[in-house]
Symmetry: C2
Subunit: 459 residues, 2 copies
């Protein structure tokens, strides 16, 4: 046993330090059931234990990888044998909820779903929502600045964090547990921890912003003939549903067809329309909101903007419609699939998709290229299935990312960079920007111990 | 003439470098008509000229103070004779507006009002709004993370900035002109410039987020008997006006009385109620929104939450109501007044105001203490009028700020720290937090040249 492990066990006890064969008994991630590789896994119960652990690692120059719910998509939390894992899994308490101020104070290891449910129990909404809700944690949501389906209305995780506590690379506890919407007393230090993927500190506690719980919900799946009409529908609905539009999810025809293939979801409408949009508005006046929603859809129909629509008549019908958009795992099975999460200005989307598809077809003529996403946020997800054996991931990356450059797009809208997209960061960030990122890393973690090599190469 | 001035004139020309007597011909600020003190005033026309200027200042170790609209309240932009002023006044172009993406690309020196009007001309809303709109600039709004009256619905300036370009202390141009709602490709560098009061860089261009322009507006001034009822009204209105409530401004009785004194504003209702709230909702369905707003007020009246209400019947009546809340200059004339801008959790407000008033009364028995503010944001403004000659500002500061400590409040909700509040930063930020602020300053401006001594003492 190495010196650092001995020092950790002496300070924190065997119960906190998982080592030896017990490490391999843990799965690598939600996506990868193979045994975890790491020198050890720390499972601290308190911020103080995280601080003690990091102080020891700092003394021994020991790299540390932070783990939350392990649902991340960019290999950010997958460790090597030389790295030590620090998991927040035991710090999962919801400490308090303040209904007057609309805040919740929680530990970083609480799952998103547990937080959503605790808020709902007090007639409040924690507005972040995404498919991994059952496993992903608030700490991970902060570290990755998580997005999801409600960003249009409530913003990304950054907009939902009022304060936080983090442990820096040397073990210093940085407590900045602000509870107010407004606080301009000096630098807003929480921004250093939001979306920096655990490279500047380990988030241990968070003050979250809650919203009133909507009491009405109106949704529809609509079909459209062109992308121009999709953008016009978005503009109209944002204007006319004033503040209540919460989701506007677009699916290109190939996505909708793939999701409704025989054996998949039942197709709620014809499968030949060029575009489908799942939209949802949430308000506080059931009768009036439903009437208004239907009137706006009728108007859009009469104006020729939409050509077909399905309005669910029950909660189970509404959920079934959402499944077409959210439950896509079946279309990934049994085929090599490369997943992407890009963002770009809405006005560039059509030309981007055309160029990207051409790039893919030039490499693999039989490839399937599935496009959908959070269009109002400028965020598209792509599934590329080359349809041949041995297709190289990097070749596909180039085909997908290169057309973003001239369009001022991003290689990561919401998943982050992690280890997987590091080589492509330069496609959307300048040398100057990356130099400033490195300067921040150098200022806060000069030994490069926290999630090293994630986002950018070590300095 | 010193070497640095000679070098600046050689590089940028006499037209850009205001020096000698012309400096004193400029007023110090919106609040202070006395002559500007500074070594010189630079008026660059482009980002490149800002870059050249800062590179020269860096070479000569010359401190630089950035100026926008000069409406700041914390002496952040007031220079000394040893400092050089860099004003963005010539960089006031609105470069482009993208109605599909809902973005505007502007230079930092454009006024807030010009930006609001340009957006409105395209049926879009730039949602930041505050009293200084006619003079304050977008660059200053970014540097101070401006707040104002729409934060409840749209967030502070931080939520309205998608990308920006800044010049660092050594003249490096950091361009990060993101246009998308989502971009998680590495650190979100714009956060370094938002709310850091020009201490880490000079913002030259900004990509702003626009929103759909609301087409209905409903407002009311209401009276309430207790602060508990004010908080209950806020909860109800946030819930029942789902996403459309845009302002909820509370006035304690002393504010309302002072604003409606003889010679001041006409009192829209009785002057003896303990609390008044100005609320406003903006939507997209004139008839339905008005009916709903009135119904909710009737319900609040029947439930005993509110005891009186004035609903304006015209736009001019609505503006007259807002003037009671916004036009308070008359109550400041002719008396020593100390202005404050604190924030604290809403649940602590009543006890805070009681303790703060007792502190003031203990010092000055005849003092007037006027309380109002953006209550939904946790933000109170205070006007303290000691009523005696020679009252010391620092004594008043202590009386106002000390009761914030145990309540986890902030000495600055939206005005920032500047030079004026620097001594009080430690009342709401820990040594550890200030140490991290200094580490960031050291990383980006190691010579301490940009707005030196603002926010915290030099390292």
């Amino acid at each position: 046993m190495g010196d650092v492990l001995r020092a950790l066990i002496d300070a924190l006890g065997e119960d906190v330090v998982v080592h030896g064969e017990a490490v391999a008994a843990r799965a690598t991630s939600y996506w990868d059931a193979s045994p975890t590789r790491a020198m050890a896994v720390l499972r601290p119960r308190t911020t103080e234990e995280v601080s003690v652990a990091l102080a020891i690692c700092h003394r021994f120059d020991q790299p540390v990888v932070t783990q939350g719910g392990l649902t991340g998509c960019v290999q950010g939390a997958v460790a090597s044998e030389k790295e030590l894992i620090l998991s927040l899994e035991r710090m999962s308490a919801i400490e308090s909820i303040d209904p007057v101020g609309g805040t919740a104070t929680v530990q970083a290891g609480v799952t998103l779903q547990a937080m959503q449910e605790a808020a709902r129990a007090q007639d409040l909404l924690f507005a972040l929502d995404l498919g991994a809700r059952g496993s992903c944690t608030i700490g991970g949501n902060v570290a990755t600045n998580a997005g999801g389906i409600n960003v249009l209305r409530y913003g990304m995780m950054r907009a939902l964090v009022l304060g936080l506590e983090a442990v820096l690379a040397d073990g210093t506890v940085l407590s900045s547990m602000n509870q107010m919407l407004k606080n301009n007393a000096g630098y807003d230090l929480k921004q250093l921890m939001i979306g920096t993927e655990g490279t500047l500190g380990i988030v241990t506690r968070v003050v979250l912003r809650l919203h009133p719980l909507p009491t009405s919900c109106n949704a529809a799946l609509v079909a459209l003939e062109s992308f121009d009409r999709v953008t016009e529908l978005l503009s109209r609905m944002q204007r006319d549903l004033a503040g209540t539009l919460s989701a506007f999810e677009v699916m290109w025809n190939d996505y909708y067809r793939a999701a409704t293939e025989p054996g998949g979801h039942r197709a709620p409408m014809d499968r030949d329309y060029p575009f489908y949009v799942m939209l949802q508005a949430e308000g506080a006046d059931a009768a009036a909101d439903a009437a208004r929603f239907e009137t706006l859809l009728e108007n859009a129909f009469e104006a020729g903007l939409i050509v077909d629509a399905v309005i669910p008549k029950s909660e189970s019908e509404r959920r079934a419609l959402w499944e077409v958009r959210e439950d896509f795992e079946a279309m990934l099975h049994g085929r090599t699939t490369f997943l992407y999460d890009v963002s770009l200005p809405i006005r560039e989307m059509t030309s981007y998709v055309t160029e990207m598809r051409a790039n893919i077809a030039a490499e693999w003529p039989d490839a399937r290229c599935i496009v959908f996403g959070h269009m109002a946020d400028g965020n598209l997800h792509l599934f590329v299935q080359p349809g041949v054996d041995g297709a190289e991931h990097a070749v596909c990356d180039e085909a997908v990312y290169a057309p973003l450059k001239s369009r001022h797009g991003s290689v990561s809208a919401e998943h982050g960079i992690g280890a997987e997209k590091r080589a492509w960061l330069g496609y959307c960030r300048s040398e100057g920007e990356i130099a400033v990122m490195r300067a921040l890393k150098q200022a806060l973690d000069p030994k490069q111990l926290l999630n090293p090599g994630r986002i950018f190469d070590p300095a």
